[in-house]
């Protein structure tokens, strides 16, 4: 559907046709007291040339960094073709797909995206995306509580991303849902199934399992899933989509598979972009589909029996079901998931696996070198994917500050959210890192620590 702008002549002709003197007259019903005053705090407009120069100056101030920070947003190589294709007008400026007859292209992309996420997670169905990983977890918890029907208690390990937990608390706080934090094993860096005796004593609706968890460590997903199902509760997996190329997907956790899987889709073709926009994915078992929030694109046939796509299960959305809807979300991250779908289509299953393997190899290489050359050990023993917590043996903030002076972002200090890990640095190495980059990291780390 093309965008059709109005010229001044068009506007005059339309006003004349309806007998209205000017556009402002159409707002006559709004009392003067409620009308917008001029925006005096906004500076005057700049021309394109001046804006370009301003942005260049700002960008130069950013500098160039060698980035080893993960913690929920990951630097991956995005093939140039991805955003070339995404910025095509048909994708870039497509409107929301409520009119199926005008949105077949958009709906088909959403359907392909959903198929891709269902396949990656090993589950039956996926929605057309949510805002981000954190709010996707909140939605999954609301969904699990609706499905469970009797308990409103949800168990969340301390190894789940702290920001996700804070966001979830905010979103579920007015809905009478109790979030119970589970402790982790300080030696392994994961939740030990043996430690869950007390947690399972009272009924609960769901257990959240992060894989990999915030520390980059791999949880015992099969044991945790079976334990949860034995307690008649649901399993909500929070997963990294790149890691799914190497790990058992949520649909194959335990004997029956996780019930719902969510996560942050940013690693699939979405740039770091100063924190967003990203997208959250949510997939689930077929039996739970009617409680799945968000948009869902479905494949069907039209009146003449020809295949086509449309939004489906809309009766559960808030514009129809209102306060009893599955969620208040009535949108999805269309551009981001278009990029993700093209990105994964270009990489293919094998390409994604190679990326994941390179990530894992780079992290191992870095950790080995840090231990051998700098005596900095890993804080936890459990296997890791592409990030891990190291114990530098000196205050994290100081080390990271000195590494920054050498233009290396050495990782995230985790002591703020985990006081028991007060010198811990969460370091991430993706496929983007070369041996030379690892050299730079190790040298900067040693210099930062050695400077006394």
């Amino acid at each position: 559907m093309p965008f059709v702008p109005h010229t001044d002549d068009d506007v005059r002709a339309m006003l004349a046709s309806i007998g209205v003197p000017h556009i402002e007259s159409l707002f006559d019903e709004i009392p003067q007291a409620l009308r917008e005053a001029p925006l005096t705090a906004v500076p005057p407009q700049l021309g394109e040339m001046d804006v370009m120069r301003l942005m260049q100056e700002r960008a130069e101030r950013d500098g160039r960094w060698l980035n080893f920070i993960g913690a929920g947003a990951y630097e991956h190589h995005i093939p140039a073709a991805v955003w070339q294709i995404v910025t095509r007008g048909e994708f870039y400026s497509a409107y929301t797909p409520y009119q199926a007859e005008a949105s077949q292209g958009t709906l088909q992309v959403l359907y392909e995206y959903q198929s891709m996420m269902a396949s990656l997670t090993g589950l039956d169905a996926a929605n057309a995306s949510l805002y981000d990983g954190a709010s996707a977890l909140a939605e999954a918890i609301l969904m699990a509580v609706r499905l469970h029907k009797s308990s409103r208690r949800v168990l969340i390990p301390a190894t789940v991303h702290p920001t996700y937990v804070k966001v979830t608390r905010t979103i579920v706080s007015s809905q009478d849902i109790e979030l119970i934090e589970l402790p982790y094993c300080t030696e392994q860096g994961v939740v030990l199934p043996e430690s869950l005796q007390q947690a399972g004593a009272k009924p609960f609706a769901a257990l959240v399992v992060a894989q990999p968890n915030f520390f980059g460590a791999l949880e015992q997903v099969h044991a945790l899933t079976d334990w949860t199902h034995a307690h008649s509760a649901l399993v909500v997996g929070v997963v990294n989509p790149v890691a799914l190329a190497l790990l058992a997907p949520p649909g194959r956790w335990g004997k029956r598979g996780a019930d719902i899987a969510v996560g942050e889709g940013q690693p699939l073709g979405v740039p770091l972009a100063n924190g967003g926009p990203y997208f959250g994915f949510l997939a689930c078992k077929q039996a739970h589909v009617r409680q799945m929030p968000g948009r869902i694109a479905g494949r069907t046939v039209d009146l003449d029996g020809r295949p086509g796509f449309t939004l489906t299960l809309q009766a559960r959305e808030q514009h129809i079901r209102r306060s009893k809807a599955t969620s208040n979300i009535c949108t999805n991250q269309g551009l981001a998931v278009t990029a993700a779908t093209i990105h994964v289509a270009l990489l293919g299953a094998q390409g994604l696996r190679r990326v994941a393997q390179a990530c894992r190899a780079n992290l191992q290489a870095l950790l080995d070198r840090l231990e051998r050359e700098a005596g900095a050990r890993r804080r936890f023993a459990a296997p890791a994917f592409h990030e891990a917590v190291i114990a530098p043996g000196a205050p994290a903030a100081r080390i990271l500050e000195r590494m920054r002076e050498q233009r290396v972002l050495g990782g995230l200090a985790v002591g703020g959210d985990y006081p028991e890990l007060d010198d811990g640095i969460l370091v991430c190495a993706t496929e983007t890192k070369t041996p030379g980059d690892l050299d730079r990291y190790v040298a900067a780390f040693i210099a930062a620590r050695g400077a006394g």
Partner: protein
């Protein structure tokens, strides 16, 4: 719209039929299925569940709406029509044959408080606009 004379009705468009064994079958009326359009899903109460007269006990979903089901009488749910799980269109085809659930009423007098066919026809007439 058909409004069988031998049934009782709630203003919320459910019908109720007293069976020979004292249980009450419940469904939605022809008028209701017509307004809802093609039905795609029925979320009926579970066997063993206690329902209360006038309170929500389930949901019927069509392509364009999801409407709450209200129990016309109070009691314990003793049966649920499994046929509707896979074939909700049966409700559109014959609303009065497509019973959704059966209740053992805890207070049989509640049946008398429901509308008869004439009363319900007035409700339908008011609903047409």
């Amino acid at each position: 719209m058909t409004v069988p004379a031998d049934l009782k009705y709630a203003e919320s468009h459910e019908w109720a039929r007293l069976e020979a064994d004292g249980t009450v079958s419940v469904g939605i009326t022809d008028h209701a299925q017509d307004r809802l359009g093609d039905l795609v899903f029925v979320e009926a109460p579970k066997v063993g569940q206690t329902v209360a007269k006038g309170k929500e006990c389930g949901v019927v979903e069509s392509v364009k709406a999801a409407a709450d089901l209200y129990a016309p009488v109070s009691g314990e749910v003793v049966a649920v029509n499994q046929e509707l799980a896979g074939n909700p269109e049966k409700i559109n085809q014959d609303a009065y044959a497509a019973w959704m659930f059966r209740v053992r009423p805890s207070n049989p007098a509640e049946l008398n408080a429901l509308l008869d066919a004439g009363g319900y026809q007035k409700v339908v007439a008011a609903d047409q606009h």
